[in-house]
Symmetry: C2
Subunit: 209 residues, 2 copies
DNA sequence: TAGATTGTTAATCGATTAACAATC
DNA sequence: TAGATTGTTAATCGATTAACAATC
């Protein structure tokens, strides 16, 4: 498990490389040097070469990088070629928006079911799914080999639900609840904390005006 | 404008301090040392003291920090006591979820209007708002002293809309479109890039299993 | 006062940038 | 081959951690 300790700073730049390389592909650009990529992506050429060389020597001296090949390499590095079964917990406004989010396909995440604790939500249809009762979470996770859960419930129930789904076998969580979930070390949590983002914006604006 | 160059690393920890201090307040805890806070928040005590001392000496030797006072200080530092007029552009799934998001009040952001470019959306009611035509963006921004825009439109139109609203007076953007917007230096952009977050999760899971 | 804990300086660690030999 | 650009080592910069005198 795991490569030779890639730093989080590097990991968080990978999706950006992937996106910019995708843009270049759309514009039919075949080849790019670290210097040219630097100009459009905003990292230094040196950093780009350092970052990429954590994973392999994808370039060629005197030439640069083949856009398509590098795009493919990063796709593999990010694990976008792998498939994962996922569920979404909390079918409120945000949960519904996330359910309709088109980015899952690219990441190989397939939502297999939606859950909510609110009796008024249970049974409602959203996309191809009937919203299920959170009581049945464990059973569903075990029967459908669910690895990933997307948590879109309020702060309060989040830790309890996390404990249950982790016990049932979930090893990755995309967490939209504004809490730092406690999980065993084999479980990965990626947080999207809208409040923290908004407060950061507030700070920067105040500081700016 | 601006303090003595606070690093982004520090700024992004501030909302977390604020949140944990709020939790302590709810539990009626009056006083906390950097060591105790370290135990619950996960930063080192040393880092906590360093961070806070960028903004002032809020503690007292031999005592620690008064939770309520510190919470208030950080509130001011984050600019949560200030009011900002905002609009939301792109009233699709995500835009609707964001519109209903309760965190704005805490940040002092008041949504004054919703916009969409899709003729089928224009005129529809969402919360207290009738969705307006994006054509009227400039007029509305100028007449209502809008400082902040929340961008929830697809990647493609985002830069064009940004150029228009910045010209009309917007100085802060909460951007949910998966693009790096180009803005003049007086404009602040805070990105929430769901795809980048999801891809990071994908990497970590792949690397983990 | 004695004990506790801050504020702050100094030391360490890690990440970014610069430089350049290797090589296509 | 000559020119360009990588891969990689070394230098720098910045952020985190440790240490401790100041002080409540």
């Amino acid at each position: 498990m795991g490569n030779k300790n890639i730093s989080m700073a590097v990991i968080r730049r990978l999706p950006k490389y992937y996106r910019y390389l995708g843009d270049l592909l759309e514009r039919d650009i075949q080849r790019i040097s670290s210097k040219e990529l630097s100009d459009i992506i905003g990292f230094t050429a040196s950093q780009i070469r350092q970052d990429l060389n954590n994973f392999g020597g994808f370039g060629q001296q005197g030439y640069g990088y083949n856009v398509d090949a590098l795009h493919n390499e990063i796709e593999k590095i990010l694990g976008l070629d792998k498939k994962y079964n996922a569920i979404l917990i909390g079918a409120g406004n945000l949960g519904q928006a996330i359910t309709n989010y088109t980015g899952f396909k690219a990441a190989g995440f397939e939502i297999k079911g939606l859950f909510d604790a609110n009796p008024r939500m249970i049974g409602l249809k959203l996309r191809d799914f009937e919203i299920m009762d959170s009581d049945n979470l464990e059973e569903f996770i075990e029967e459908n080999d669910i690895e990933i859960a997307i948590i879109c419930i309020p702060k309060n129930g989040a830790q309890e639900v996390t404990d249950r789904i982790v016990k049932a076998g979930v090893t990755g969580i995309w967490n939209f609840a504004p809490v730092d979930l406690e999980v065993p070390s084999h479980v990965i949590v990626e947080n999207v904390n809208l409040t923290e983002s908004l407060f950061t914006l507030s700070y920067l604006i105040k500081d700016n005006r």
